[in-house]
């Protein structure tokens, strides 16, 4: 049964290859189905950007045009053979992907949408104006025929070229999204900050998704010029870009089945309702709005829901689960793997030293000249009243904010850079407001933390080379061990958002430990936990320390702080007012003052109100 399920898509894919042998209608096969296949390539590529990494490109028609014109011009003017033109078209579109993505993806916000819309219009201008190459508005009619000796790809036979290329593209997309790349795309979409702190470079990852997507659009364009043996500027309009988006959303993102169904429906629908052609865009616009708000999973999401309700299909298998198949490892079969802090030597020596660390937000100095030393092998607590600058300090240490002045030394080296760079130097963190990748499985959350253990570019992923499988298997084993470490192994395949709150906090710790930190920053790990859960947290924090990972703990639960800490630093209004052992801190008048507002006697911090 398992093998039937596994090979069924391949069998279907092969069977569909023979469509032209059964349907000889030139309009259906040549004009409709070939176009559908070509558009599916664009849409599957677009899915990498929109569905997986959460950006919008409204200029894919422009990239599609780049491919189409590249192939047409090279074949017509230079008589290049078509396979080389395909590569050239995809490559040129990828270059445009770089030109657009490098500037537009640096900032958060709708910049990619803005830049791609502008790009789509510019490509139209260029096509219209570069007459010697493109013949301007009259278009190119001189596209050579694809006949190689006995092999003829004209007429309905074009399907035999277009269809296998499409299947190949879908295969590639499928392997990409089920690799650590796909996981990184999705993590970034769900929580860019958490993904960054897990070592995923937002910029490079989103850029990779967009460039790949551009290459697919270009490749599809090279095929497209052979459908009508004519290309002209009106085809590659802004409306086509929006139609690609409609195909994608309507079919259902992050699903190859969705890409195929959505494209098929959007291409075929106007043919079925010819008399409504004048209202085509209104209908499609309405369809897009309807899908966005009433059918967010698209056709595929709806079908899935129906199948689940009728019991014909089990609950959705998330991205991470097929990774087991790849890796050839089954959950629970892996041997225990211990934490691997960067290096365990030098216990008792300074691990993290800040000197005069300050940050200003406009006129407000949130952290002011903080000198703090976290000793290797210790649990160091950072406490202080609300607004005293504790979380800001964590954000400075983890690279989310850049200090205005002062410096941070970690393992004897200055720390600077973005969150993902700092994560790779061995500082990991959790978040005050839990920042998990809610739609992903518990296991996949930890796998994102292990992002840094993966290496190798696109090709190993696409071909699933032995080394890529080996990496996946090892990461999986580590993830399993880390889940075991925090006691969540049994929940590995749950969706993270379904975990109870206390377990979500533990999962964040497991994910953070995935990056093999020497220092773990815990930003209020006990906030909102029940007494029982706090006891678990207490045990886990000690366990982390005992495994050789130093801890910087920010917490309001004084009983927890006083119980686990080796050393405590107290902040008030951004400045350090005390540091010392728990006993020293509890007896410190300034600290008591800061917390209780009086120099009251008889109060100790252990009884101070908690949040």
């Amino acid at each position: 049964m398992e093998s039937v399920k596994r090979y069924a898509p391949y069998l279907v894919a092969i069977a569909l290859m023979f469509i032209p042998n059964f349907i000889s209608n030139e309009y259906i096969v040549h004009s409709v189905l070939c176009k559908v296949c070509i558009y599916i390539i664009v849409v599957a590529g677009l899915d990498l950007v929109v569905g997986y990494s959460g950006d919008v490109s409204a200029g894919h028609a422009g990239l599609f045009a780049v491919g189409a014109y590249t192939a047409a011009v090279l074949m017509w003017k230079l008589h290049w053979s078509f396979p080389i033109c395909m590569v050239a078209g995809a490559a040129l579109a990828a270059i445009f992907g770089v030109i657009l993505g490098v500037p537009a993806l640096r900032l958060r916000g709708p910049y990619l949408a803005v830049a791609t819309i502008a790009f789509g219009l510019i490509i139209q201008t260029i096509i219209n104006e570069a007459v010697p190459l493109t013949q301007g508005s009259s278009g190119i009619k001189e596209i050579p025929r694809l006949i190689y000796g006995p092999i003829n790809f004209e007429g309905n036979n074009l399907f035999y070229l277009v269809y296998p290329v499409m299947v190949l593209c879908l295969f590639v997309v499928n392997h990409i999204v089920r690799s650590y790349w796909g996981r990184a795309f999705e993590a970034l979409k769900e929580s860019p900050v958490a993904a960054g702190c897990s070592g995923v470079s937002r910029y490079r990852t989103k850029l990779a998704a967009f460039i790949l997507s551009a290459a697919f659009a270009g490749l599809a364009g090279t095929l497209f010029c052979h459908v009508d043996k004519y290309i002209g500027p009106p085809t590659f309009s802004f409306e086509l870009s929006v139609l690609f988006l409609i195909m994608l959303i309507f079919g259902g993102t992050r699903s190859i089945m969705g890409n195929c169904l959505g494209t098929l429906v959007v291409v075929v629908l106007p043919d079925l309702f010819n008399n409504l052609n004048d209202y085509r865009l209104m209908i499609f616009g309405g369809l897009l709005l309807f899908t966005l708000y009433f059918m967010p999973g698209g056709i595929v999401g709806m079908l899935r829901k129906i199948l689940e309700k009728t019991g014909l299909m089990k609950a959705p298998s998330r991205l991470g689960v097929p990774a087991y198949v790849v890796a050839g490892v089954k959950l629970g079969e892996v041997s225990a793997v211990h934490l691997r802090p960067g290096d365990e030597t030098g216990k008792g020596e300074p691990l993290l030293v800040t000197k005069g660390l300050s940050i200003k937000f406009g006129g407000l100095t949130a952290v002011n000249g903080l000198d703090m030393t976290v000793t290797r092998g210790q649990i160091h607590a950072l406490i202080g009243p609300n607004g005293s600058g504790k979380s800001t300090t964590v954000n400075l240490l983890s690279g989310i904010y850049q200090p205005t002045s002062g410096d941070i030394q970690f393992r004897g080296h200055p720390v600077r850079g973005s969150a993902d760079q700092i994560s790779r130097t061995g500082i990991a963190r959790t978040f005050q407001n839990v920042a998990l990748f809610g739609d992903m499985s518990v296991l996949d959350n930890v796998m994102v933390g292990l992002h840094h253990t993966f290496s190798g570019g696109l090709l190993p992923i696409v071909f699933r080379t032995p080394s890529a499988r080996q990496q996946a298997a090892e990461a999986l084993a580590r993830a399993d061990a880390l889940l075991d470490f925090v006691g969540l192994r049994a929940l590995a395949t749950e969706q993270a958002r379904n975990l109870p709150y206390g377990k979500q906090r533990l999962l964040e710790i497991a994910r953070a430990l995935g990056s093999d930190p020497s220092l773990l920053l815990l930003d209020e790990p006990a906030a909102g936990l029940t007494a029982g859960e706090i006891a678990v947290m207490d045990a886990i924090i000690r366990k982390v320390r005992d495994a050789g990972v130093s801890v910087l703990l920010i917490e309001h639960h004084m009983s927890l702080v006083m119980a686990v800490s080796d050393e405590i630093t107290v902040l008030d209004f951004g400045q350090k007012i005390a540091s010392g052992t728990p006993d020293q801190i509890q007896a410190n008048d300034r600290v008591i003052n800061a917390y209780l507002g009086t120099s009251g006697s008889g109060h100790t911090l252990a009884h101070a109100p908690t949040h």
Partner: protein, 295 residues
């Protein structure tokens, strides 16, 4: 020389239209972190609405003003539709993808609707001024362009004064800088956001009435204008107020110079080139400030 001054003045007029539309983008972006990707089509609908009142010939000033008002009213209505249909439901999902796609969808619906109502023809549009030019010191200046510059500057300055001096204007600024704090201070945030969209869309629709007599009114007139205005927004800085004026002038002038000295066919390219360059070298725009996102 006089030809050159004329060219510069046309560039300024064009630039002020871009700035006006971009100003509208910045208003909604500041309050809701969204902008309307169908703004160009709203502009086009405003132009068509006014056209049916003003007609294609020189018109009396009251009639023209009536047309302008009608466009603004339509803009306000469209703003409410936009907000309720496309923006508000999308903000609940928390992802940028939804509102971008939803506003794009409204754009193609609006364009298709305009094609059904007014067809795909191009129409000339009247204004208070005829075809004559003003001769100022040997330079012929198109009074319609003077009107564009004056009206665009007037609208933007009026809004800035309103934003800085009036209590409600300060509420808009408060929402722009911190929605939650503004809400806690008793500011009705949804009302402020609604207001920002109404202003933004009304401005765009009036922009159509200003540009119509200079260019031509058609169902496709909005696409290019709306897109270039994004570039202007980014050049000035999406979170800058009047930076868009500088952005608009830079783009308007570079387009005129490109048309004059390179090729009229390529006059639409500077917007894209400037957009890419600004994003590369000054990603927050010429006048925008980098903002720190709280975690």
């Amino acid at each position: 020389m006089s030809a050159f001054i004329q060219l510069v003045f046309s560039g300024v007029a064009l630039g002020m239209i871009y700035a006006l539309i971009a100003f509208g983008y910045n208003i909604t972006f500041s309050t809701s972190r969204t902008l309307n990707f169908s703004q160009g089509d709203f502009l086009m609908l405003g132009a068509f609405t006014a056209l049916s009142i003003i007609g294609s010939k020189q018109s009396a000033i009251p009639i023209w003003l009536l047309g302008l008002l009608a466009a603004a009213a339509l803009g306000a209505v469209l703003a409410v539709v936009l907000l309720e249909v496309a923006i508000r439901p999308a903000l609940k999902t928390g992802s940028d993808v939804s509102w971008i796609l939803a506003t794009l969808a409204l754009g193609i619906i609006a364009k298709n609707a305009a094609e059904r109502i007014w067809g795909t023809d191009e129409y000339p549009m009247g204004s208070p001024f005829g075809r004559g030019y003003w001769n100022i010191g040997g330079v012929s200046i198109d009074p319609k362009e003077v009107l564009v510059v004056a009206a665009a500057a007037g609208v933007m300055i009026a809004f800035e004064v309103f934003r800085r001096k009036s209590l409600f204007g300060k509420a808009v600024t408060a929402v722009a800088s911190d929605k939650d704090a503004a809400s806690l201070m008793g500011i009705n945030v949804p009302v402020v956001i609604m207001f920002s969209f109404i202003v933004s869309c009304a401005i765009a629709a009036m922009g159509g009435v200003l540009i119509g007599p200079i260019q031509i009114v058609s169902s496709t007139m909005g696409a290019l204008l709306g897109t270039k205005a994004y570039a202007v927004s980014v050049i000035g800085g999406l979170n800058s107020g009047l930076g868009v004026i500088a952005g608009g002038l830079i783009l308007g002038l570079s387009e005129q110079l490109t048309a004059r000295y390179i090729s009229t066919g390529y006059k639409d390219t500077p917007g894209f080139v400037l957009l890419i360059l600004i994003l590369l070298f000054r990603p927050n725009g010429l006048f925008g400030k980098a903002t720190i996102k709280k975690v």
